[in-house]
Symmetry: C2
Subunit: 450 residues, 2 copies
Amino acid sequence: MAAALREAVRSGRLAAGTRLPPYRSLAVDLGVARNTVADAYAELVAEGWLTARQGSGTRVAERVAAKPQRVPRKGPGREAAAHDLRQGQPDATSFPRAAWATAARRAVTAAPHDAFAPANPQGRPELRRALAEYLARARGVSASPEQIVVCAGFAHGLRLLFGGGVLSGSLAVEPYGLPFHRGILADAGVRTIPLGLDARGARTDELASHPGTSSRRGARAVLLTPAHQFPTGGPLHPTRRAAAVDWARGRDGVVLEDDYDGEFRYDREPVGAVQGLDPDHVVYLGSVSKSLSPAIRLGWLVLPPHLVGAVLAAKGLREAWTGVTDQLALAEFIASGQYDKHIRRMRQRYRARRNLLVMALAEHAPHIRVTGIAAGLHAVLRLPPGTEAATVKAATWMGVALDGLAMFRHSGSPEPHRDGLVVGYATPPEHRYRPALEALCRALPPLPDA
Amino acid sequence: MAAALREAVRSGRLAAGTRLPPYRSLAVDLGVARNTVADAYAELVAEGWLTARQGSGTRVAERVAAKPQRVPRKGPGREAAAHDLRQGQPDATSFPRAAWATAARRAVTAAPHDAFAPANPQGRPELRRALAEYLARARGVSASPEQIVVCAGFAHGLRLLFGGGVLSGSLAVEPYGLPFHRGILADAGVRTIPLGLDARGARTDELASHPGTSSRRGARAVLLTPAHQFPTGGPLHPTRRAAAVDWARGRDGVVLEDDYDGEFRYDREPVGAVQGLDPDHVVYLGSVSKSLSPAIRLGWLVLPPHLVGAVLAAKGLREAWTGVTDQLALAEFIASGQYDKHIRRMRQRYRARRNLLVMALAEHAPHIRVTGIAAGLHAVLRLPPGTEAATVKAATWMGVALDGLAMFRHSGSPEPHRDGLVVGYATPPEHRYRPALEALCRALPPLPDA
C-alpha cells in the first residue's frame, strides 16, 4: 500500500497539496485494517512524500511539480481590449450574487425529492409557472406553463426548432442579424431569405408577395426581433407586426420572435411581444443571457400548443442540458420579486449609460448620428459611406473593441450596406464606462470640412 | 392605462393571483406620474379586477380562469410503477441538498466577476483544478486541468467527440451497452462494431486481428466500461486493459473510457481508470449523474493533449450548455471534501442494498445466480434460457419496473443472447427498498422441478 501511494505521488497523479482522506474512512472503503493505512501514511510522512499537520489532515507535500505545466489556453474568444464596447453582454460585475445565492439555497432546500431524479425535458414546473406569470405581466405573452419548454438559451432553442425537425425548409429573416445564429441555421441546412428593412422595421409586408415566402414550397417561418431590431435598433411597426402574423396565419406558418432584450426599454412602456397577437402562430424565444448573465444557461420557448410535442421529441426523453438547480433558482428568483428588482436596477443603469453615450457624441462628434437608442444594450452610430472598416480599425488602436454593421449584414440582403458602428454599452464595469466613451470618441471620423 | 390593464386581466394574460409591481416603481419604469398608475390600480380594484391587501400588494383577483387548463403532459418517461428497479439512477432522496446549497452559496459569492461574463467552453478553472486533483486521487487518472473539458454529461461528451468531427468512422464497442448511447452514435453516422465478451470482460484482444478494427480503414477507437462492464457487471481484466491500450497506441487511435460508476466498488479497492496507463491514448469520460444526480448536468472529458483543441472547436466559442453556477458549486463541493463524504455515504448505503439483494435471492430464489455485484448501482440476475421476457412481464404485474438484458444487447453482437434481468438497486428511497425486493422475488421463475 505504501508503495502504491509513493508511486502516485512520484508520478504526479496525487498533486502537491492534495488532502488525503482520513485513514479511518480510507480503511473502511478499502476493506483493510486501520493500522495498514495508518502505517502507510506514517511511512510516507517519514519519507517526506506526505505532510501531516494538526487540523489540516494529511496532504501531499509541496515540492517541484512532477510535470511541466502546460500553457493555459485562451479564453472564450474575447481578447483583452482596454475597452469592450462589443454588443450583447451585460455588465458581469452587476450579477446579483447575493440575491441569486439566496434564491438558489432556498430553492434547492425546498424542492421536492423528484427534482433530483432524471428531469423532465420540458423544464421544472416551478420555473414554467413563474415564467408564464412573468412573461404575461412584463412582455404581454399569453401562455400557460404547458406551452413553455425550457432550454439552454436562444441558440439551443433555434437548434431544437430546426436541427430537431420541428421546422424545416427555408426561413425568412431580417437583413441584419447575429452571424452566430445564421451559422446555426446553415448547419441545420436551412436556407435564409433576407427581407428588406426600412424605418418601420423589417419588410414583413413583402412576405405575402415574395416568391420565397409565398410560393407553395416557400418559407413558412420568419425570424424577427420585434422589440428591438438586432442590431439596427428600431421596434417593428404595428402594421408590420400585423403583416407578419397575418402571413403566418394564412399559410399555416409561424413567426419566431427573438425577444433578446425586450425588458430594456428606456423612454416609454416596453413594446409588448408579438406573441400576444396570435399565440397559435408565434414561437416566442427568451433567455436570461441579457437580463442576468450568459453564464446562466437558461432560455425558454413559448410554443403554439400544436408544436409542444415536436419540440419535446427533439429534446429527448430526459433533460440532458439544463441543470435543475438553476431552473429552481430562477423560479424562486422570479417568484420572490428579485428578478423584477434586478431588471429595474439594470434598466436605470443602462439608461444612464445610453444617455452618457448620446451626450458624449453630441459634444465630441455632433456629425455622427446615433440610432436605435430607445431600448436594448447597444446603439448604432451611422458613419459616412466607406468609413466603417477604417473606424473599427482606429477604435482597435485606441484600445476599443467593437464591431461594424457589416458583420451583421446578411450576404444576400437586398439592402445596400449602411456604414455604422454597433456600440454595446452594457459590458464595461461602471468605473470603466466613461473612459471607454472617451476612447470611442477619439476613434470616430473627424467632422467633414465645411 | 386602466383600459390596457383591464384587457390584460380579462384576456387571462395577467393570471389570477399575479402580483403587480408597486405603483411607484411601475411609474418610474413607464415614465409616467405616480398618480396615473395609482389611479389605474384604484379603478381596477374598484371594478373587482384587482385586489389590494396590506402586506401582499396588489394582485389580480381570483376568479374563473379565462382559459381552460390544458392536460399536463407526462413526465420524463419513467411511468409510475410501485417499485422502480431500473438501472442507472441514484436515490433522488439522498441528494445532499444542504451541503450542495452551502457550496453553491459560497462559490457564487466568492467567484471572480468574470464568472458571470460569457464562459470559456473548456469549463471553469476552479472546477478543472478540483477534478484533476480528485480524479487523480480517487480514480488514478493522470491529467492536468488543461486536458479537461467540462460538458453536460456523458451523452454530450459522446456528441462532442463524434458529432463534432473530433473522431469519425467506425467504433468498436462492447456487445452490451446503453441503447441511448448507440442511438447517439447512429445519429452521428458512426458504425459500431461489437466485440466479444467473456469472463475477463470485452474481448479487446480481438482488436488487433478483427478486420473491422485492424484494417487500414477500420475503427481507430473503442468504447469501453472498464471499471464495471455495463450492464453485465465485470471489471475489465488487466490483460484486456493492456490489449486495448496497445491497440490504440499501435494504430494512432484512442480508448474511450466510460467511467460511469467507478467510485462505487464495495469489497476491495476501486479499480483504477485505464486512462492512467496511457493518458495520450485514452479519453476518460465521467459525470455526476450516478454520484450526485442526473439533474445536475455536469460531466467531463479528460483528453489526450492533442485532442483538446478539436473538442473545444466542436464545443464552440462560448459555453452554450453548462451553467457556471453548477460548475462553481461542484468545484467547491469537491474542494471542501463534501464530494468524498457523499460518495462514502452512498457507497455504504448501496453496499447494504446490494447485500440485501444477494440475501433475498439466496433465501427466496437460490436457483437464480446473481452477477456483477462487486461494484456499481445494479446487478444482473441470470435466468434460464427463454424466460427473460416472461419474467420482465411478471415483474410488471408485481408492480416492479426493470429491464431484461436483451434491450442492452447490440443487435450485431457475435455473442449468443443470455437471459437475464438488470436490477438497479439505487433508485428506490430507503424505506421502499425491502418491499421492492420482496415484489421482485415473487416475480422470478420458480425453482425447476428436481
